[in-house]
Amino acid sequence: MRTVRLRYLPVALAALALVLPVTSLTDAQSKGTIKIATQSPLSGGQAALGEGIKLGTQLAIEKLKGPIEKLGFKVELVPFDDQAKPDVGVANAANVIADKDILVVVGHLNSGVAIPASEKYKEAQLAMISPANTNPTVTDRNYLNVSRVCGRDDVQGVVGAEFAKTTLKAKTAYVIHDKTTYGQGVAEFFKADAEKKGIKILGFEGTEEKSNFDPIITPMKAKNPDLIYFGGIYDQAAPFFKQAREKGVKATFMGPDGMDSSDLTKIAGKAVQGMYYTSVAGPVSVYPAAKEFAKQYKDKFKKDPEPFAAQAYDATAIGLKAIEAAIKASGGKVPSREQVSVAVRKTKHTGITGTIEFDEKGDPKKALYFVLQVASDDPGKWGDNKEVKRLSIAAPPLKKS
C-alpha cells in the first residue's frame, strides 16, 4: 500500500504546483487582507447570545465591506470562542494580537472576560468595540482602544431600582448574583440604589451553583420579599427562577440584560412569564431601522436575531468605517492598529440601533436603557417581549482619581 501511495505523490505535487501560482496571482491583485475578529462564547451555556454576536458581525461584514474592498483590501471574519471564561478569552486575545491582519475585535459578551482580554489588546493598541459589555470598568480604565456601543451597569442598576420602586412599588427585595464581574457589579448597583430609594434589602447572596438552588431558596421563601433581583446571566438565572416558583416563591422576578435571551423561557417556561428585565439592548422591534436587518438575518441564518446581534452589527459597522478612514489617512496602505483605534473614537455612526458617538473614554455619549417584560412562556415569542419603559441617559463622566 505504501509504495502505491508514494507513486501518486509526484502527481499530487504537480497538481499543487499548477494551483499555487493561480492563488498567488489573485492575491497580488489585492493589497492584502484585513480581518475583523469576534470574541464571544460559541459553546457552553451562553452560546445563544455569543453566536448572535458572531452572526451579527458576519452579516455586517458581508453587507458593508464594499468601501474597503474598493480600496483594494479583502475583508474577513475570524470568530473566536471565549467560552465565557476569562482564561480562554485572554488566551484567544494573545492569538488575536499575533495575527497582524486583525485590526478590530468585536466582543465580548461577558465583562469579566472583556476586561482582562482588553488588557492584552491594549498591548497592541488593537481596537475592541464591545456590543454588550456593561460593567463600568470596561471603559473607566480610559483606554484608547476600548469602546462600547451599549450602556453601563451603574446606570442599568439604577434604572432597575427606579422601576422597582415607582412602577412595581416593591417594599422589600432579595438580591442574588453570580459572582462574576458583570453579575455582582450590576447587583451591587441595584442594591445600593434600591436602599437609597427606601426598598429594604432582605438578603444579598452570591452563588456559582448551576443546578441545585434549594438551600438558597428556602430562607428566601421564609423572608417573603416583594421582588427578587438576579444579577447574572440566563443560563444560571433560569433554573433558579424555575425552582423558586416550583417551591412556591411568589415574589416578582427581575434581572439585568443578562436575562435577555430566548433560552431563559426555554429553560424556565411559565416561571419567568411576566418577569421584568432591564436592558441596554432593546429587542430588534423597538428600532425602526433594524427591521431590514432582522429580515436579512432570518433569511440567512434561519433564526431570529438574539439580543446584541444588532449591537454587534453596529459595532462592526463602526469598525469598518474606522478602518476605511484609517486606510485613507495613511495613503491607501494598511493602517496601524493604533490609527484604527483613534479612528474608531472619531467615528460618528448612524446605525440600526441609533446614532452612536463616543465620549472621551469610549462610552456612547447617550445610551438607551429599556425595561422589558417577558410576554410568553414560548421561547419562539421572545421577540414579542413588551417594552415597558425606555430612557435615554448620558454616560457618567470619568471620575478623576
Binding site: 459553546s43 457552553g44 451555556g45 452560546a47 459572582k179 438578603g203 444579598f204 447572596e205 452570591g206 452563588t207 456559582e208 451553583e209 448551576k210 443546578s211 441545585n212 438552588f213 434549594d214 438551600p215 438558597i216 428556602t218 430562607p219 421563601k221 421564609a222 423572608k223 443560563d235 433560569a238 433554573p239 424555575k242 425552582q243 416550583e246 417551591k247 412556591g248 433560552d263 426555554k266 429553560i267 417556561g269
Partner: protein, 323 residues
Amino acid sequence: MDFPLLIGIFPQVLLDGLILGFMYALIALGYTMVYGVLEFINFAHSEIFVVGAFVGVEILLTLQAAGLLEIFSPFLVLLVVLLLGMLASGLLAVTVERVAYRPLRGAPRLIPLISAIGVSFFLQDAVRLVESIWRNAFNLVYPTMDTLNIRYSFTETLDVSVKSLVVIVASLLMLWGLHALVNRTKIGKAIRAVAEDQATASLMGINVNRMISLTFLIGGAMGGAAGVLFGVQYSLINPYTGFIPGLKAFTAAVLGGIGNIPGAMLGGLVLGLLEAFAASYLSLLTGGAFGAEYKDIFAFSILILILIFRPKGLLGEVVRERA
C-alpha cells in the same frame, strides 16, 4: 437575630439536605464499589452519572414530542425512564471498564487513574458533540410533569413536592436493594470474595472478570439512576453537570470510608446535610458576612476535621471487608 425564622426553616432545610444527600449517596456507591474491588478511583463515574441524566431527558423529550407524556401515568413514565437510564449508564460503565481499565489491570496504580481521567474528558465532550448535533443545544431541560410538581404543605414553612418524595423513595429502595444484593445473594458473596482476594476467589471457581464487570454494571446503574433523579429534581442538565456532584460524591465515599457500601450512603447523607445547612444558615447566622457561597468551604472544613480524627472514614473500621 431572627430566631423564629431560623427555627421555622429548619425542617425544610433538613429535607433539602436529605434529597441532596441521597443523590450523593447513589453516586458515591459507584466510586466505593469500584474501589472496593479494584482499589482505584473511577473518575469517569461522574460522566456515567451524566449519561444517565441525558438518556432520561432524551426519552422524556421524545415522549413529549410524540404527545405521549400526558397520556401515561407520570409514575409509570418515571419508572421506565429510570430503568432505561440505569441500563444505559450500567452498560456504559461496563464498556468503559472493558476498554479503558481491563487492559491496564496489571499496570501501576496511577496508570488506570490517568486512563479514567481521560475517559472522563472523552465522555464529556462526546455527550456535548452528540447533543449539539442532535438538538443543537447545550443545556437540556427535563419536561415539566405537573403531577410531580404538586406540593403538600405541612406547616407554613415546610412543604414537600411529589418529585422530592419520588427521589427519596426511589433512593431508599435502591440502597436497600443493593444492600440485599451484596449481603444476601450468591452473586453478592462472589463480589465480596473478589474484593477480598482476587487470586483466591478465582481458585474457588469465581469468574473474576465477570464479577468486576458486574460491579461496574451495578455501580454504573446506581449512577444512572442518580442522574435521572437529579434531572427530575433540578431540571437543568448540561454535559459538564456531572463534575461537581461527582467530586462531592467521591468525597462522600471517602468520608464514609472508601470501599464500604453503608459508609458511602452515610457519607452522602452527611455531606448533603452539611451543605444544605451551610448554604441556608451561614448568611442568616453571620448577618450576611459569610454567604451561601461559603457552603463548600464550611462543608469541606468539617470533612477535614472528621478525617483527621477518623482517617479511614466514618465507617472505615467497623466493617473490615470491602465492597
